[in-house]
């Protein structure tokens, strides 16, 4: 086919992509550049930040987050700690649950498996605000969860009002530590303005409800990714393993799980990237309370800017978070590129 038939294709090409270039350029690239500038200002959201009267403070906003002792750094460190625990629990739990769900739904002899798949996937497609509302109701002090726990003879905590760290509660219950009087070493040393004890006390009870909510809503999506990979495993592979006399456990251990490894990596890294962005649930369920134990960097960035009118600080937090997430994304893409290309990805 002669190329000359395609006159003016270059112009058409740019015409076709121009809406995309305009929208992404104006509402994604430009905002990032503007925010980068604002993160170097002390700006309260009122005057024009791009005039010469803007109050330029250099890297002060970043310094107060990372190096200077003070409330800003303590809050930021607290939000990092909370989110780190959130990531540490949510990612493994949702991955494991998604894998189990996929294995269940993939059982060819299970009756009603498509209904189950629908049930497992449904929370993923609903609005985060709506499901957060439901969880807020379920986990109230005298709510459904605590009623269930009471049947089992357990007195449930007042979930959203409980700032105590789960890890310190657990160790306290075992008599290993005394939550009210932390050991000297832990209380006297600090990183970023938080004592070792505060870093190590675990996610608060309130944070645990947000973790449960996230695991519940995201496991369905990841289940589908696992399920697609499970259905890609060549049947001959399973059959020959069965002929060799492999039992169920061996089949899972030596055939299924190795075949899922690339997808497992994908699900873990996707989870790692998305869990650092938790915001909606915090906004609806706790707004950082109790005792700042559900504060996350994303929410802190929002509340510094729109709550405390400190947009420079808020933008600086957003950029530290952005750097963290882009770093994780780069790692993921690098690692995925090094793996063998996935040949069966388009079904």
């Amino acid at each position: 086919m002669p190329r000359t038939a395609r006159r003016g294709e270059g112009a058409w090409g740019w015409l076709f992509v121009s809406p995309m270039v305009l929208v992404l350029g104006l509402f994604l690239v430009l905002p990032i550049l503007m925010a980068l500038w604002v993160s170097l200002l002390h700006w309260d959201g009122q005057s024009n930040p791009f005039s010469s009267r803007a109050h330029f403070v250099g890297l002060d906003n970043y310094r107060s987050l990372l190096t200077e002792d003070g409330l800003d750094r303590t809050l930021f460190a607290t939000s990092l700690r909370n989110n780190a625990y959130y990531v540490l629990l949510t990612v493994p739990l949702q991955t494991l649950l998604a894998l189990v769900l996929a294995l269940v739904v993939n059982q060819r002899m299970l009756r009603g498996r498509s209904a189950l798949r629908t049930a497992f996937f449904f929370p993923s497609v609903t609005s985060s605000i709506a499901v957060s509302t439901v969880f807020l109701f379920l986990f109230q002090g005298s709510g459904a969860v605590n009623t269930l726990l009471a049947w089992a003879g357990v007195k449930g905590p007042n979930w959203y009002a409980d700032p105590r760290g789960v890890l310190s509660l657990l160790l306290g219950a075992l008599g290993l530590v005394d939550p009210d009087h932390p050991v000297g070493v832990l209380a006297n040393h600090s990183i970023l303005g938080l004592s070792w004890y505060q870093w190590l006390s675990g996610p608060s009870v309130a944070m645990c409800t947000i973790i449960l909510l996230s695991v519940w809503t995201t496991s369905g999506t990841f289940m589908l990714i696992f399920l697609a990979a499970l259905q890609d495993i060549p049947r001959e592979l399973e059959e020959s393993a069965a002929i060799e006399g492999a039992g169920r456990f061996q089949m899972l251990r030596y055939v299924t799980l190795p075949a899922l490894r690339p997808v497992l990596f994908l699900v873990l890294t996707l989870g790692l990237i998305s869990t650092w962005q938790v915001f909606d649930q915090v906004y609806v369920m706790s707004r950082g309370a109790p005792g700042n134990t559900t504060l996350t960097p994303a929410y802190l960035s929002y509340s510094s800017a729109f709550g405390d009118s400190d947009f420079g600080q808020g933008a600086a937090i957003a950029f530290v978070l952005l750097a963290l997430i882009l770093g994780l994304t780069a790692l993921q893409r690098l690692a995925l590129r090094e793996r063998t290309p996935r040949t069966r990805r388009n079904r």
Partner: protein, 299 residues
């Protein structure tokens, strides 16, 4: 009877035989429990919407309202004690308006851009595709303040334009469409071109009609995305006039800590706000499934 007859020799027959009976019973119980875990919250949500406030507080787990009432729904639809902080119909109108416009925009602009990136030769194409991939990596929550800044500077803060315009194109949608157009054989287009059709005509009358499955997926994902959108509306608007189901409900629910619980009302509002996406989901589940897997292969 929990398991299909194992003697049927179908291609879907499992490689290994069936579990022994006790294992099947235990396994099925566990699976049923797991399913219940995913369904029960929605059931409780539905039932609680028909309870009175004291009933919801006293019997949060009861599947039957003591005195069934539609008071919550009457308030939401403005049939009683209207305009007391929950202008639900107004939220609904905003959500529907924004979602429809955004969906239409995304379907058109994403497929145009996807087609150009897949098929048209123009200078800067591969650079632009790299840009799209880069954009997909930018996390939305890091853009809250940046988006506010740009809308504020352009005078679009607290307007419908500011709510809609930034959502009109999404990089993931462009990516999905590009992948699709690359899988379409070139011959059809070439034939149309030989017949003298211009670039736009080939795109509009030949390529787009062939792209129906991808367009349906894109329509559904765009509608779901813009209907459930929260953070963008949160920073793009301020007045209650522009509240959508997500921002309105979020402010009502999270601000209501001191002002009584009103759970039947909150849960009924949350339930109604999920209905459109739920209906789409139950009718077009396989497109949602495709969407979930498209998200997985975007690297």
């Amino acid at each position: 009877m929990t398991v299909k007859d194992a003697t049927v020799r179908a291609p879907g027959r499992p490689v290994l035989g069936r579990f022994p009976l006790p294992a099947r019973v235990v396994g099925w119980t566990l699976v049923a429990g797991l399913g219940l875990l995913y369904v029960l919250p929605f059931v409780l949500q539905l039932v609680t919407g028909f309870k009175t406030d004291p009933d919801a507080a006293a019997h949060p787990l009861s599947p039957v309202p003591v005195t069934p009432t539609t008071a919550a729904y009457q308030r939401l639809f403005g049939l009683s004690r209207a305009a007391d902080g929950v202008p639900f119909l107004h939220w609904l109108g905003n959500s529907a308006f924004v979602a429809v416009v955004v969906t239409a925009g995304r379907v058109l602009f994403d497929s145009m851009a996807g087609y150009a990136l897949a098929r048209l030769r123009f200078p800067g194409r591969s650079l632009l595709f790299g840009f799209v991939l880069g954009v997909m990596a930018v996390p939305g929550v890091a853009l809250l303040i940046p988006k506010f800044l740009v809308l504020n500077t352009f005078g679009l803060f607290d307007t419908y334009t500011g709510m809609i315009l930034p959502l009109m194109v999404d990089a993931a949608g462009v990516f999905i469409m590009k992948q699709f157009f690359e899988s379409v054989p070139r011959e059809v287009e070439e034939a149309a071109r030989v017949d003298g059709a211009g670039v736009f005509r080939v795109f509009w009358s030949v390529v787009l009609p062939m792209a129906r499955p991808a367009l349906i997926t894109l329509t559904i994902l765009s509608f779901q995305g813009s209907w459930n959108e929260f953070t963008h509306f949160l920073v793009a608007t301020q007045s209650s006039q522009y509240e959508t189901l997500t921002t309105g409900l979020a402010r009502f629910v999270s601000g209501g800590l001191g002002s009584g619980t009103q759970y039947p009302l909150k849960l009924a509002a949350a339930l109604l706000s999920t209905v459109p996406v739920a209906v789409l989901f139950f009718c077009f589940q396989r497109y949602f499934v495709q969407g979930a897997n498209a998200g997985a292969v975007k690297e």
